[in-house]
Symmetry: C2
DNA sequence: TTGAAAGCGCTACCAC
DNA sequence: GTGGTAGCGCTTTCAA
């Protein structure tokens, strides 16, 4: 490993001087600087971030905690975060929590141990003491909170929009799929839909589910049609479940959208590829990731007047599983 | 921040002793150990990984470089890597390269700067000098190489299997979709398919594509049916493209698998959710991630007799886009 | 404008 | 068994 000492020796100066040119602060004579630059190039030196981090008590690392990167909504978020962060010179320490508080604690701890300068987390456990005790910029992603800056889309509004859409498009026996109880955004959109449905003059029923996953989505779809075979409008808990429902409806020979309309949530990339293509409520995941990163960076840099919360717009994407008029 | 000094003071011992109980090496009296443990608990101390890393010249960090986490094949790999690694006490530094050598270089450099103990990379650029110069355990994931340990599935065999399957199931005018030229595994499976197709007594044509992405998959599918409207068997470059093709075939009123059979590649989770469900060549992505992590850990620990290469089995998953007999 | 040296938090060597 | 201390690679006073 080539260190700052080697560079100093090569350039015939002290390490202090090398450090100065490295960080571009303090006075350095033009020719000295040149010598140092040459030595750096010559030795192909690049500074040890760990030593820097130790001295300054802060690294260029940021911790990102996500429930499960395997769920297609999250890679979008992650990518948004990364693109913004890496551009600003930060690197990402990634953890999957599986919504499991234990894992979450462990990751947060190792983030701290590694001197991260900030944390972005999609957690349902913000109110645990570990977050309170955290002496670090924290931004919530895809989650709202009273106590921390957050970037999220308005789930309640999204739920309302989904319900309203189906009602307007003439669905009369609506089935609402309720996502996992422990996932906050799932409940928000559910509440929004309930609100709108209750207000309107339609029959509706609720299918309660406990996961968002590919593995089980098929099961929920089957259960749905077994229990509510005459439903003519389905509000899915997310696009994965939505796509599974579309699939199951086709299997059962239902005509979409004539017999049954289906609306998803999230607008994950593959919802454009289902057959028929899935109408859905879009959350701008990639942009949310970027915004969260930007917000975090501004907080880290202590820029004045940084907003506490960014609520991203939710939007209806009409495709082929809802009627046209 | 509470440091080892604070613990030492609290426990009335020296930092050396605290360090010994922390690392569980050297002699420590039972009662002394107890006092130290209590002090640690009392102060809620956890050691600074950065300081450790600096002294030992190695961290508990591992760099993972992937082309694009947004492509649904990679989260599976990433998750496999993470699950195995985190269990062994390592944490993940993540980077997306977009197959871009510049970004790749930058990430590798920051991995090194952060004292990672090893790197897992899915790169097409192994032969660049940066990897050569790397004085770190490296394992390739989803890529083969003569020079480095690697975990991958046999793309050639997979390509053959895809072609063989379609031929056996009676396709007579096969269209083979060729993936991006710069992506090694895409070419392997293509070559395998070509090989098998050439050997058999069938007509076939090739559609050349330059991406794997959701955004463009739809376009490739349309182009395919525009150019080869009478094809009765399609070998997709991956499942994304496969799903897009299934979708487009349905749009065009083709019966699947009667009029046209389609076979994908990868077995990403959503291929079970297309309509009809996509037959495909499965790569065990999650397991590949795990194996890569295990291999890396064994290399780091310098265990004797570590295999250089793990070739994972490729497997036909028959679903509804291929005929039954 | 430059260099010497302290110190970031930790580990490991050497004394006792 | 335990403590003192050098030193990991760097940045930043402070003096010169």
């Amino acid at each position: 490993m080539v260190t700052i000492k080697d560079v100093a020796r090569e350039a015939g100066v002290s390490v202090a001087t090398v450090s100065r040119v490295l960080n571009d602060n303090g006075y350095v004579g033009a020719d000295t600087r040149k010598k140092v630059m040459e030595a750096i190039a010559e030795l192909n030196y690049s500074p040890n971030e760990v030593a820097r981090s130790l001295y300054k008590r802060e690294s260029r690392l940021i911790g990102l905690l996500l429930p499960d990167i395997t769920n297609p909504f999250f890679p979008q978020l992650a990518r948004g975060v990364e693109d913004e962060l890496s551009q600003a010179g930060y690197r990402l320490l990634l953890g999957n929590s599986d919504e499991n508080i234990q894992k979450e604690l462990e990751y947060i701890q190792t983030f701290v141990q590694n001197n991260v300068v900030g944390i972005i987390t999609a957690t349902n456990h913000v109110d645990y003491k570990i977050y309170e005790a955290l002496d670090l910029p924290l931004v919530l992603l895809d989650r709202a909170s009273e106590n921390y800056p957050a970037v999220y889309a308005d789930g309640r509004e999204g739920g309302r929009l989904a319900a309203k859409t189906l009602i307007e498009k003439g669905a009369e026996r609506i089935t609402l799929v309720k996502g996992p109880a422990n996932i906050k955004p799932a409940q928000d959109r559910f509440q929004g839909a309930i609100e709108e449905l209750s207000r309107a003059d339609v029959d509706f029923s609720v299918l309660s589910t406990t996961s968002y996953s590919f593995e089980e989505a098929q099961g929920w779809a089957e259960e749905l049609f077994d229990k509510f075979s005459d439903t003519d409008g389905i509000i899915a808990s997310n696009d994965i479940v939505g796509i599974a429902i579309v699939h199951e409806a086709m299997e059962r020979g239902k005509r979409i959208p004539e017999d049954v309309q289906i609306i998803g949530y999230d607008d994950i990339p593959q919802s454009r590829l289902s057959y028929p293509t899935l109408s859905t409520i879009r959350q701008p995941a990639y942009e949310m990731g970027r915004e969260a990163a930007k917000l975090l960076i501004r907080t880290i840099k202590k820029e004045p007047g940084v907003e506490q919360t960014i609520q991203m717009p939710v939007e209806l994407v009409e495709r082929k599983t809802t009627r046209k008029e």
